[in-house]
């Protein structure tokens, strides 16, 4: 099977189509980098969800809580160790950021394990119950964030090493956005290698297509699913931490707010497709930034329009997974 490059080509086409509308090359460069950065962060949040959809046909509306919990985990570390970032050295920044990111991933992963074990396991195979219980879980745990961290917005200090901008010609490019693109690419590369070069990845890809056949070959798909669920939750936590640093604040509802875009990305990409999720996230990120500049009131609507157009073109998403 040849690689389908057409959906990938839509990314530069969308960017080029926006250039005459934006009118200014420096502004277009800034918006494009911002769009790619946003896309990468959404990809981190959405990649686990798409695998959970694909692997076990589970509709997990509670995914937003992993994003929020990751953001709060990172915020806790960043605010408590913020003094170490005052020196303005890269080493000092990293000594805070790495534990912050690790806390975000670990907290979200533990939360993911708990959700799978307690809420989702009893409702396998029943979409209605999955929607109800995961939505309920999202609301309950959002309220628990109010209890633990408070209902108010918490401002986040951003490390000096990733604050400020590069000047490229006349365009100002935020360092943080470049860092987000780099982290997103690393996550995508790691996922690609795991999925395509390891036996676990082979099992996940096969399980997304036909979980029953994987079981018939002697593998316990349930264990695989728990692993994917926990890893996907951890990635959502990482995405949440990155998103929080991007917004320079955390709020209890941030996971729920970004969940709409995450679902759009998962649907655009094709349920269960990590590659599709990556392309879909970049398209959504670019679209949100271009329309945010050109017609701010249409920012979210434009992504829904994008989803409609993609589904009219490819009803099962950009890279549909051949479900059995």
């Amino acid at each position: 099977m040849k690689t389908d490059w057409i959906p990938l080509a839509v990314i530069p086409l969308l960017a080029l189509a926006a250039l005459p509308l934006v009118g200014s090359v420096p502004t277009w460069v800034t918006l494009t980098v911002a769009g790619l950065a946003m896309g990468m962060m959404i990809f981190m949040m959405a990649s686990g969800l798409t695998l959970v959809f694909g692997l076990m046909d589970v509709m997990n509306f509670a995914h937003g809580i992993f994003i929020s919990v990751g953001a709060y985990g990172a915020a806790t570390v960043l605010t408590r160790m913020g003094a170490q970032m005052q020196g303005g050295t890269l080493a000092g920044d990293l000594s805070v950021m790495l534990p912050a990111v690790a806390a975000a991933i670990a907290l979200a992963a533990v939360m993911g394990w708990f959700f799978e074990r307690v809420l989702i396991r009893p409702v396998y195979g029943d979409h209605l119950k999955q929607i109800l219980i995961t939505m309920g879980g999202l609301i309950v745990f959002e309220q628990l964030i109010h209890v633990v961290w408070g209902a108010d917005m918490i401002p986040l200090p951003r490390p000096g090493a990733i604050t400020g901008s590069f000047i490229l010609g006349d365009a100002a490019i935020e360092r943080y956005r470049v860092a987000a693109v780099v982290v997103g690419l690393v996550v995508f590369a790691a996922l690609w290698i795991i999925l395509n070069r390891t036996r676990i990845g082979l099992l996940v890809r096969a399980g997304v297509e036909n979980p029953e056949m994987v079981e018939s070959l002697g593998y316990r798909i349930r264990r695989l699913f728990v692993g994917v669920f926990v890893a996907g939750s951890g990635l959502a936590g990482l995405g949440g931490a990155m998103w929080a640093m991007y917004q320079e604040q955390v709020t209890p509802a941030m996971g729920m707010q970004v969940l709409v875009v995450v679902f759009i990305v998962v649907i655009i990409g094709g349920l269960g497709s990590v590659g599709g999720c990556f392309v879909g996230a970049l398209l959504v990120g670019l679209m949100a930034n271009y329309t945010g500049f050109l017609a701010p009131k249409l920012a979210l609507g434009s992504n829904i329009l994008l989803m409609v157009l993609v589904l009219l073109w490819r009803p099962r998403g950009l890279y549909p997974v051949g479900k059995a």
Partner: protein, 239 residues
């Protein structure tokens, strides 16, 4: 020959439907048993129940004299039972190689077994790095069977291996099954009577969720009236 597999009074419910209604039959070691019957008789349900994909609501499934009806599907597979479903169950997004690597749970497939697979189905070697979704219907069936034999298995459960295949491919399948049955026990669900007659040692015929006939395949093949009564067909129409 000792019995490798024995079903005793197996009942299976799917939702509100009572599909298997007390199924009894045996699969002797090193024999190829054909499971025949009209559409909806319960043949596929029977294989899926043996494999643990649907739970038996009553009765026993004994494999090597051990009850397996309560085991999970992966545990049943690990006992040495391979299953090829009616839709073949190949992983279309994976290459031929990846499909076989996945089936060889211990790691890469054993060279000797691969050589045997390539001898039985040369297309597997030719399309080794091709995505399984790009194979023809016959090649997909060959891959599904190759996957079932890439590891040593004592019992193969195969559901309608000739479904939708061209006559030339069916001929190749008959040859391949002829070799497989020399050292493996097979339970094959089949609608193609010519295929069944060519390969079957024994036969069990199902109707309305029950076994209505068991015996030697040769005896059924020689008795047109019995075929007409059990299967609603005459041998002449399936020459």
């Amino acid at each position: 020959m000792p019995d490798l597999l024995r079903l005793e009074g197996v009942n299976t419910h799917i939702g509100q439907y009572h599909i298997l209604q007390g199924v009894d039959f045996v699969v002797p070691e090193k024999q190829l048993v054909m499971l025949l019957g009209r559409n909806g008789a319960g043949k596929t349900t029977c294989l899926r129940t043996i494999m643990g994909l649907w739970r038996a609501s009553a009765g026993k499934v004994l494999y090597q004299d051990r009850e397996i009806q309560g085991l999970q599907t992966p545990d049943i597979s690990r006992l040495g039972i391979a299953y090829v479903p009616e839709n073949m169950g190949i992983f279309a997004g994976l290459t031929v190689r990846e499909n076989l690597v996945l089936a060889a749970r211990g790691g890469d497939p054993d060279d000797t077994r691969l050589e045997r697979i390539f001898r039985l189905f040369p297309a597997m070697q030719k399309f080794w790095h091709s995505h399984a979704g790009n194979l023809s219907g016959g090649q997909k069936q060959m891959l599904a069977i190759s996957r079932a034999i890439v590891e040593p298995r004592r019992l193969l459960l195969i559901d309608e291996p000739t479904k939708g295949l061209a006559p030339a491919i069916i001929g190749a399948m008959i040859e391949a099954f002829g070799e497989l049955k020399r050292d493996t026990t097979l339970l094959v669900v089949e609608q193609n009577f010519h295929f069944a007659r060519s390969l079957g040692d024994a036969v069990a015929v199902m109707d309305s969720g029950r076994i209505v006939h068991t015996g030697a395949m040769a005896a059924l093949a020689a008795d047109g009236r019995l075929q007409q009564r059990l299967l609603g067909l005459s041998l002449e129409s399936h020459q």
